[in-house]
Subunit: 145 residues, 2 copies
């Protein structure tokens, strides 16, 4: 997601970029493609804004998600994770390795057929989330040995 587009969305939302919010946003931009928890964001952002509190991190992550600058997602560990949006795309998909916990992304969108089917039945599809549980190639090899 380009800085220009981010800026536009914050503008529309009347959202002032304070030092703290800037720090959080910068951390997210420096971690494109990663999926950070609030605590992880706090740890990184404190390098830029040492007194930053966890409450501000939560507030900022939620607000940025509501502006669709971030995705807020949940795997199955009982906590939320956040990632900076990339434009154009629908939410992309995640493969989680059951051995090493690594999260790998896939861009293929084979869901349009399914979504068309639902729209034919009167649904209005807004978004989707697909998680595939797998053993990644490395872990698959290790297990085989």
């Amino acid at each position: 997601m380009t800085d220009r587009l981010i800026w536009q969305r914050l503008e529309e939302g009347n959202y002032r970029l304070t030092q703290q919010r800037q720090a959080v946003l910068d951390v997210m931009k420096e971690n494109r493609g990663r999926h950070l928890s609030a605590e992880e964001v706090l740890a990184e952002a404190r390098k830029k804004a040492p007194n930053l509190g966890i409450a501000t991190v939560y507030r900022t992550l939620d607000k940025l998600s509501s502006f669709e600058v971030l995705y807020k997602m949940v795997f199955d560990e009982g906590k939320y994770r956040y990632e900076i949006c990339e434009d154009e795309h629908h939410r992309h998909h995640h493969v989680i390795c059951l051995s090493c916990g690594q999260i790998i992304e896939i861009e293929e969108d084979l869901l349009s057929k399914l979504e068309k089917h639902l729209e034919g039945k009167g649904f209005e599809v807004v978004d989707h989330q697909l998680i595939i549980y797998a053993n990644c190639p490395d872990c698959k090899k290790k297990v085989k040995k």
Copy 2:
């Protein structure tokens, strides 16, 4: 999932069916296709076993999930939900209505192509979870008015 198969799995796991566990399992069987939280299960199961404690409910739901008698799943409300497994199938898919919160199931499996692709790349696919966020036909009509 047939009683016979459930029985077989508990057997394999050396899992004795106490009154409390039976109560929990019965609630799950009486609610095929629904997605219950631990508290919801507790409320129902207490009709059968009045002194049942929440700890036993959690213990039982987790154990039954580990035997693949139940699915343990997470949407994005910060809590787990459980549903009795149906055989044959891979995990099925869920549509959540963003207006009324209703959960609708879909059986179509259009993910095999994607999973084949991943297996070609060396992954071993174990399971997947697909959630589609939508407005259901009823809510779509209401919003339009």
